[in-house]
């Protein structure tokens, strides 16, 4: 006899309202159906009503976790439409903030995952480490979450030499503290017990279903949009992080290793930071079509913009990474035990507010 269990929308392990209708046979999940719409606002429509410069700050609020990368992707789109050349310094600064954002997002995800499998101590420790990164962001932009530092044509804020020193100091602290936690995440018996072999998806299937980000790289496929070298990634020696096994543990390991990688990228970008302007002034309105892709912590986001020569966009479409990851998630869930559902959901690090906008 199978039964239907609603999981969410208000659920202790989910910070966001996602509902899954799980069909269970005893403890085993037979199928899962997502029910969405709890955080749908209609942001894409609102973006067509505001002018394209205001939109930069509206788009930032698509999602509070990867806010900087959303505004960066949007700005890159408008820059492509209007043919604006971004100054070198701004490109490097964008990498710095984007990677800081990736770090805080991955730490957040790892902490919530630890909470989902009941390792509360680890959750608190990871979130404590995350504050180092938050301090670095606050010192450089004045805000913790909504940085508001990206704008069309460049960036609005600069990182001075002292600020760079502070950020590096914070990164050193982070490295020291995270080393201990990552040992627990990688090697602890109870963590492995909950993660290894859970929610397995092989590389081929993940690719077919359109998985992106750590969900894809955890299954052995080296696809990361930073490889194309947008912003300043092309000059920074970037190599994607790949794990083979395709289970929750592999996806977690991708995040842990990416944290170290992001740290290296921030250090490198700060060391190479060229002198110069922060922003290219521009005139006129966007027209034409552009599609931009940016690698966010959860995977690749696609922005499609269409301008019509006025100050309002014709159409803005955002395909977010979690949207792409939901189909693979439903495949991972089939055949798992009910207590593993929360762990599997958090292993793709869902961001519902992006997905529904």
């Amino acid at each position: 006899m199978s039964m239907l269990v609603p999981f969410g929308p208000q659920h202790p392990v989910l910070p966001e309202p996602l509902q899954l209708r799980l069909e269970l046979n005893d403890e085993k999940v037979v199928s899962a159906v997502p029910v969405v719409g709890y955080v749908h606002r209609g942001l894409e429509k609102l973006a067509e009503q505001k002018d394209f410069i205001q939109d930069t700050f509206l788009i930032e609020r698509v999602c509070g976790i990867c806010s900087f990368m959303h505004s960066m992707a949007y700005s890159m789109g408008i820059e492509e439409l209007m043919g604006i050349q971004v100054p070198d310094r701004a490109r490097y600064l964008r990498v710095v903030w984007a990677e800081l954002h990736r770090m805080h997002s991955h730490l957040l995800a790892l902490g919530l995952l630890a909470d989902a499998f009941g390792f509360e101590n680890l959750f608190y420790t990871i979130w404590k480490i995350r504050e180092e990164i938050m301090d670095a962001m606050e010192c450089t932009t004045g805000a913790r979450v909504m940085l508001g530092s990206c704008c069309i044509g460049g960036v609005r804020k600069d990182i001075s030499a002292e600020q760079a020193k502070f950020v590096l100091e914070k990164l050193n602290n982070f490295e020291k503290m995270f080393k201990r936690s990552s040992e627990v995440l990688m090697g602890d018996y109870s963590v492995k017990e909950r993660l290894v072999g859970v929610g397995v998806i092989d590389g081929k299937k993940a690719y077919e279903l359109g998985a992106v980000g750590p969900s894809l790289r955890g299954s052995g496929i080296a696809k990361d949009h930073r490889m194309t070298g947008y912003a300043a990634y092309g000059e920074l020696g970037f190599e994607p992080v790949v794990e083979k096994d395709g289970d929750c543990y592999a996806r977690t390991m991708v995040r842990v290793r990416e944290l170290y990688q992001s740290m290296t990228l921030v250090r490198e970008a700060l060391a190479k930071l060229p002198e110069g302007e922060l922003k290219t002034p521009f005139k006129g309105n966007p027209s034409g079509e552009a599609a931009v892709r940016v690698e966010q912590p959860r995977g690749e986001v696609l922005y499609y913009l269409r301008g019509n020569g006025t100050d309002k966009l014709d159409r803005l479409r955002i395909r977010t990474p979690t949207f792409a990851n939901i189909a693979p998630l439903l495949t991972m869930l089939v055949g798992c035990n009910l207590p593993d559902v929360a762990v599997i959901i958090l292993s793709i690090d869902p961001c519902i507010s992006c997905t529904e906008r």
């Binding site: 709890y38 955080v39 606002r41 609102l46 609020r61 509070g64 976790i65 420790t125």
Partner: protein
């Protein structure tokens, strides 16, 4: 019993329609750096156990029933704390087609914490404020209406009260 509640309010968090910015800042409050647990605040998952409801984000056509449901399940006396500008008026999303308005249009709000997102310090302040209101409600005293006037109709956001404006991001 009354003392136990005011010394240790249990908080349930509901993400209504938010962009996550407020949620992650609220979660950051619970963790060691800000540590609301030193005030006895405990984060619970079940609204039936909670005294304080923390709402982030505005209300949309779909989740207003869920919000009402969560609110109705909480035992009396209860206090609602709205974190951020979104639950006050709809904030930046006020003009979206799917946004009905602030949380105040569905359930009574006792404390508003302004900011987009508010700083964790301001959030802690809001919860401590809520504890005072909870105590008053328990004693059957009248409570003041919230500082931020809530407009249930769509429109521009009202300016936050001056003494709280300094805490805004």
């Amino acid at each position: 019993m009354s003392k136990a509640i005011s010394k240790s309010p249990w908080v349930v968090h509901f993400n209504c329609n938010s962009c996550n910015g407020c949620d992650i800042e609220f979660l950051a409050c619970l963790t060691p750096t800000y540590d609301v647990e030193r005030f006895g605040v405990l984060h619970v998952g079940n609204p039936k156990h909670a005294d304080v409801l923390v709402v982030t984000g505005s209300v949309n056509l779909r989740n207003r029933h869920v919000l009402k449901n969560v609110y109705d399940q909480m035992p009396d006396p209860k206090v609602v704390v709205a974190m951020g500008i979104c639950p006050a008026t709809g904030g930046i999303f006020a003009d979206c087609y799917n946004v009905v308005g602030g949380v105040g249009s569905v359930i009574p709000v006792d404390v508003h914490v302004p900011g987009c997102p508010p700083r964790p310090e301001a959030m802690i302040d809001g919860i401590i404020e809520a504890v005072g209101i909870l105590e008053k409600k328990r004693a059957g005293l009248a409570v003041d209406p919230p500082l931020l006037p809530v407009k249930t109709v769509k429109g521009p956001a009202p300016a936050p009260a001056p003494q709280e404006a300094s805490e805004k991001n």
